[in-house]
Structure formats: structure tokens, C-alpha cells
Symmetry: C2
């Protein structure tokens, strides 16, 4: 993936496409990487049919939506993050605000909710009827039968590079579907769910947070780019090395998927699964969705065709029968 670009935006999953398109417009108009990343993540949080982020996100085992989000400015290295927060319309905006604080920049649970409310961030019931139906169905099929309920943990992670060569990254998720109340994954965790250094590059991850945290995958990818690897080399080598380590040491590896971008706007993608999609835009690549397939220690990339995109839209809006 070598592109000559003076701006760029890449994000995990198809769900980021609309946000990536709008972020691309902002970046092309010389807006700041931070503004573009926040805008893109907010688009995903606000869309009710994306069931793993923000409004419409799937709840924990008790039926409550608990959200995690983070923002990192790769120029100042400032980080803000929230975890396990309920009833906040846009966790990414709280994370952005916290990144401006010298102290108390990572906040969790009730304390984070109170602070966000005191600061005037919009409160909102985040559980939709649709997400509730998903929950009731899953609960009946798993918990009520004594089976493991865990499935689904798609985080949106957006990396932006502006024309001033600033890199930023934002993440947001409702976390592992059917998680225990209070469970936090990699998304708000520096170095695991995200990392950005404007002098090198940025990376963001999605998959099983418990396993991504065992390898500090985003920091590792940025480190590898810093030692001279291309984004694609860094992403593939770091992801498959971590998978190998997890299997040999922990006995198994959950889903691991990443996107990254260097300070020149070149990007890389790697995944251990077969249905990972991502969204990207650069001066030479209008906002588009790509699909990936694993091929040994490599990740193959192909454009999503219109049939796939239509099937996706049908699937996410189809009726959910409890």
C-alpha cells in the first residue's frame, strides 16, 4: 500500500464508511486531524444500526449499554479515555475533552458519568429496541441455557492524518456483547486499542480486547513503523507474531484485526479473521470499503463490491425477532 498522500483517514470496519467520507472532506479542506477523527467516530456512535458502538450498541449481560472510548493526539501525545460509562450520547466527545486535562484523563464508571454530566455532555438512553431484541434473543440462546454468551466485539477505530502532518486516533465501542457489567476491553487502553505518534504513525485495533491487551498491539505496530517497516509489514508481522505468541503461551488466540497509517499517509491492514472490513480515503482513493482475507501470514485486500455493500445494509437493518 504505497500512496503519495498529504492527508489520509483509515478506520476499522464498514460501519466507519460514512464517517470516513465526511472526515476525508474535512481533511481535504485542511481541517485538523483531531476534528476529523472525532467527527468520524461521532458519526458511527450516532447511527442506530451499528450494533457495537454508541447508540444502538449491544448491552452487557444485564441489558445495560456500557461504552468505552478514547482519543489520542499523536503530536502532543495527549490521551483522553472513558470506560464503562452509561447514558452518554457521545463517549468520544468526553474522551476528547479528557485529553485536554493534565490529570484525570482516563475516567471510568459512575465517576466518569458524573463528570461528563457536570461538563454538560448530552445524556441519552443508548439501548434501542433493536439492541434489546438482540439481547433478549442471545440471552435466551445462551445464558438461559448455561452456555457462554460471548460474541461480537467490533470497535470503531479511526486514524486521521491532516495536511499539517498531525496524526490522531479515536476509538469507540459498546464492548463485548453480553459482557459482565464493568468489563473493559482494549479500546480505551493506550497502546492496546490505539496509539499515535505524528512523527511515525498510528494504529488501532478491534477484536478480543482481552487478547489485544496481552500484546499492546497498537503500540507494537507504531514501534515497528518507527524502526523502518512499512505500515503493511508492521501490521502483518505484529498481528501474526502476537497470534503465534498467544497460541503457544496462552493456548488460544481471539480475533485480532488492525489498521494503521504512517506519517506519509501510507496504510496497512492485518487480520486473523476472514470477514474483516475497513474504510479508507486518501487524495488518490475516494472513501471506500475494502474486505480482507487472511492468507497465511499475509492479509489480502479487495474492494467491497456493490453486492456485498447491499447485503451489509440489508443485514444490519433486518428485523430482529427476539
Amino acid at each position: 500500500m504505497t500512496l503519495s498522500a498529504n492527508w489520509g483517514v483509515i478506520a476499522t470496519w464498514r460501519m466507519a464508511w460514512e464517517g470516513v467520507s465526511e472526515a476525508a472532506n474535512l481533511l481535504q479542506a485542511n481541517k485538523a486531524a483531531g476534528e476529523a477523527a472525532i467527527h468520524a467516530v461521532k458519526c458511527v456512535e450516532d447511527y442506530p444500526f451499528y450494533k457495537s458502538v454508541g447508540f444502538g450498541g449491544l448491552p452487557n449481560e444485564r441489558g445495560e449499554v456500557e461504552l468505552d472510548a478514547a482519543f489520542m493526539d499523536g503530536t502532543s501525545l495527549a490521551i483522553g479515555a472513558v470506560a464503562g460509562v452509561r447514558n452518554i450520547a457521545n463517549p468520544i466527545l468526553v474522551a476528547q475533552a479528557l485529553s485536554r486535562e493534565r490529570f484525570n484523563s482516563f475516567m471510568v464508571g459512575g465517576g466518569a458519568e458524573e463528570w461528563a454530566q457536570a461538563q454538560g455532555f448530552e445524556r441519552k438512553e443508548m439501548l434501542t429496541e433493536r439492541a434489546r431484541n438482540h439481547y433478549l434473543k442471545r440471552k435466551r440462546e445462551t445464558l438461559d441455557r448455561g452456555l457462554s454468551p460471548y460474541t461480537g466485539h467490533d470497535t470503531v477505530g479511526v486514524i486521521t492524518l491532516d495536511t499539517q502532518q498531525n496524526l490522531c486516533v479515536g476509538t469507540s465501542t459498546s464492548g463485548l456483547f453480553m459482557k459482565r457489567p464493568g468489563r473493559v476491553g482494549d479500546s480505551p487502553v493506550s497502546g492496546s486499542g490505539f496509539y499515535a505518534d505524528s512523527q511515525i504513525g498510528a494504529a488501532t485495533a478491534t477484536g478480543l480486547g482481552e487478547d489485544l491487551m496481552k500484546g499492546c498491539i497498537s503500540y507494537e505496530i507504531v514501534s515497528r513503523m518507527g524502526r523502518g517497516m512499512s505500515p503493511q509489514q508492521a501490521a502483518e508481522s505484529a498481528v501474526y507474531d502476537l497470534e503465534t505468541r498467544l497460541i503457544s503461551r496462552f493456548g488460544r488466540a481471539g480475533d485480532l484485526s488492525v489498521v494503521c497509517m504512517n506519517a506519509r499517509g501510507e496504510y496497512g491492514v492485518a487480520t486473523t479473521i476472514d470477514n474483516f472490513s475497513f474504510s479508507v480515503a486518501t487524495p488518490s482513493q475516494p472513501a471506500a470499503v475494502f474486505l480482507t482475507a487472511r492468507d497465511g501470514k499475509h492479509t489480502l485486500i479487495r474492494p467491497a463490491d456493490s453486492a456485498w455493500l447491499e447485503a451489509y445494509q440489508q443485514r444490519i437493518t433486518a428485523e430482529v425477532i427476539q
Copy 2:
């Protein structure tokens, strides 16, 4: 620091000395690194006069003690962590239990408290009269006058190496004194507060969590050891590189202190402050406390003499007048 050792234990601060002594006895008797690390951290949590960890820890701005802890097994890479939990006697035991979980291994706030209670972990009012007096005094001197209240953020981090060459690390803290409710630092965050890989080494940090997280300092130190640096080289170069990056990019750097140990039992220490102490024991070094002083890009180490040790004991047990 080159030692020929087939076991070892090193920990941040003087407060770990008793725990390090007992961990050394366990390791010498061929007990597992995990058991020794947990035991050492628990000693610190239980001692009422250590005011930044566990029972007797200093509270948040509302006068509530909120605790963070983590445990990592460097052989399996398993991690368990809790953050922002109240009224739990030994957060490190909850972290250890969570490290055995495939899912939901990092838990925060009320959800973590409920899980710990359901699992039968001891509940305890963690605010002592002494810590309350510290709080009231500090509040009167700062918050009540509109001044910044932040000071004090000493985490205990204990690294153990057993005779089977397993490395483990445990951390525990009451976090930044006068923090906002819900604030979480680096201590429960993989790669920032701690990291361990039994094939390479382990590291743990103390200082301003907000800044330690900007550099994933513990993961970086283990990476440097993995690329061939001695523990002392890895600790010093990583800490002073991060300090330089923080000053040039973020505009300032908080306190940064680390200890690390490699898989051969050699250890390293680095700090940006002048009063950092640590506790260590190996087959050739009975459990002892050392003091450090910064010298440019190096950290000088000297044994704590009996006068210092006595003054310490006097200081931590002296009456606190509100």
C-alpha cells in the same frame, strides 16, 4: 546490575520491603512467581501506614478510597485488572482471579465491586482515620482555596522470577491523591503500569499515570530488553527518552520511575525524580532497600542506610494533624 541468580524479586518503593522479604523466602523455597508476587503486593495493601496502596490509601477528592490493581503472568501472558473499586480489602486478589478468566479480565467501578463481592472477596472500609486526616488537611490547603490538589501517586509494582524461570508482575495503588472519582492511572493498564514476558523480562512503573500511559513505558522497557539491552540500559534509555518526548511534545513531564528484571534475574531501575526508592532480593542480595538519584541520563543507586530507614518509619507513622 549483573547478578547470577535463578530467582529474584524487585519492587517499587521502600513500602514493598516487607513484602519483598517474604516473597524472597517463597521464591527460595521454589514457590511460583505468581504466588510470590501476589503475596508481596498483599503485604503492602494490608499495611495501614502505606498511604498510596490498599488499606490506609489516600482517597479521591470526595474522600472515598478508589483502588486499582493488576496481575500479569509472563509465561501465559494472562492479565487480570481492576480499576476504580471501593471497599475491597485486596484488589490484587481480584486481579489475580480475573487473570484466570478468558473474557471480562479487566473490570472497573461498580461492576467490578459486584463481581468481587459475588466471588466472596473480602469487603472492607479502606479509609483509615489517618488517611482521612491527610485528606482533610490537603483539602483545606488546596481545593478549599481553589488550588490544584494533585500530589502523590506511589504505586507498588512487584516483579518476581521463580526458579522455573517464570516472571510475574503485580501492581496496586489508591491512585492519584485527590483524584476525581473514577480516575484511573497506569497501574491497571497493560503495557503502561506493567508488562511481563517470561522469555524476556518484566517491568513496572510508578509516577504520573497520565504521562506513563503516553509512552507505554513498561512494554517499551520489555521490548528493549528483548532487543538485547541489559535491564539497566533498557530502564534508563526508555525513561529518559519518554521524558524528552513528553517535554518536547506535551510541554512537560510528570514523575516517571520504573524497575525491571530480565529472565536471568538481572535488574534495572530508572527515575526522573530524586527520592525514588526500591526494594530487591536475589540469591546474592538479601532483601534490601536502595535509594536512587538522577545523574543526567543515568540513575545512580545506593543502599538506604539505617538513618534513612528510621526516618522513613518515623515519617509514615507520625501523627497527622488535620
